[in-house]
Symmetry: none
Subunit: 231 residues, 2 copies
DNA sequence: GCACTTGTTAATGAGCTGTTAAAGCAAGGC
DNA sequence: GCCTTGCTTTAACAGCTCATTAACAAGTGC
């Protein structure tokens, strides 16, 4: 249905913004143009986009802060930053936020287009047709991902968002190795030492929650990941 | 799999090549440096890499041609091109070949590092459609590479990462010689005396694990390698 | 015999992991 | 604004794993 990829552009320079929008629309993209971080974020909350193109220099909220806020909404949407200056610090900060790419103004439209396509190509390569289950039997436990609930016998507890995500990944890989790297990437949208440790904390919490049925366990595979073992 | 990501750098400028190699090795990557397309391609055929960093200007074969040849070997390995000129045509051609990114010399090492990480992050997130088998029958044993498990009758043991890799190589060469050099290169990405000895230690461990079925054995071929013999 | 390669075992230590607690942070109420 | 509340991330520390190294025995081929 929606073959046309949806781009969110946040750019305060009206002239450049319109040029960009027209060019990208002529290339077959569906483009939403916002002029500041506020409206960018609220647009993002309302609709789904395949890629965000953010100017680094924006009134009120800068592009990086906006990216962080969008990232809390969506863990996987890619960012591409536009920057007037070719400043190293900017770039490093941007990549830390999870940027896919940087384009320094003035830029060549064809090149921008190529880079957009590279990002989207990568993106679509990993989007598998998802019709994944949302309910899981784990030994004597019952886990409802959609309801964010974990039940054991007659008691039910509500999971937090992250607990829910981690447990779901484990369940989808039941009795198979869930690779650390893959899990962290899926949950946080990027990798670093602390995110890995944070992930470990959730494993620890889930182990505690699942302790009542000794036939199930979350086993570590050294340097590789974890397995949810269910007999 | 291997933790340290493997990079293939093809760069004819020896000075730059070494700088790059040292920098990236200090950042924890496993780097193979080649000085021309020929050796780059043959290295690629021997070992698996996670990313190819190719200079556009190379003697004999240019970077784009090399990329095309590598692409026929491997449909998914990402490319990153190094270019002295910031030429639009170059970039467009590069993206057409399937480039993930372009870095214009002189470049900042930190930025290059970020861009490498962005590419690898995406790469690792998507499930590699594994074409090689991951399950093997070895005499009375059953080896599951994906689960890192070795079973005999009703007992199953979990292998370590390296044990798993070595056993897989042996299985892929079942009843054929697995050359020392090739094995060490595939597992460690480089060669030296101690790595060879370490490899021997794994052979010894695997022999011990596989002792319960006398019809299989890991035989040494003096100065050449090993054979996993299965009747 | 000699120079080497290989087999095996054991010890070491870098770097992972498990866990708890404290700090950070956002959202909602007042 | 300010406090409360609930969740996530960071920090800290203890404990553990496993690849590598070393050391020595045994095998190979000249």
């Amino acid at each position: 249905m929606h073959n046309r990829k949806r781009l969110l552009i946040v750019e305060d320079d009206i002239h450049l913004g319109f040029l960009l929008m027209e060019f990208l629309e002529s290339e077959g993209f569906q483009v939403k143009l916002c002029r500041d971080g506020q409206s960018g974020l609220s647009s993002f909350k309302k609709e789904a986009f395949d890629l965000c193109i953010l100017d680094v220099m924006l009134p009120h909220t800068d592009g990086f802060s906006l990216a962080r806020m969008i990232r809390t909404e969506d863990k996987s949407v890619p960012f591409l930053f536009l920057t007037a200056r070719s400043m190293k610090e900017d770039k490093l900060q941007g990549f830390a936020v999870g940027a896919e790419d940087f384009i320094t103004k003035p830029f060549d439209e064809e090149e921008l287009l190529c880079r957009i396509r590279v990002i989207l190509r990568r993106q679509s390569a990993q989007q598998m047709p998802e019709c994944k289950p949302t309910q899981f039997q784990i030994g004597k436990y019952f886990f409802d991902y959609a309801k964010q609930e974990l039940s054991f016998e007659n008691t039910t507890r509500r999971l937090t968002e992250k607990e829910n995500e981690v447990l779901r990944l484990l369940c989808l890989h039941q009795n198979q190795i869930l690779k650390r790297e893959e899990a962290v990437e899926k949950i946080y949208g990027r990798q670093d030492y602390f995110l890995g440790r944070s992930f470990d904390v959730f494993i620890s919490r889930l182990r505690k929650m699942l302790r009542q049925d000794p036939s199930i366990q979350i086993e570590n595979v050294f340097k590789v990941g974890f397995i949810l073992n269910v007999e």
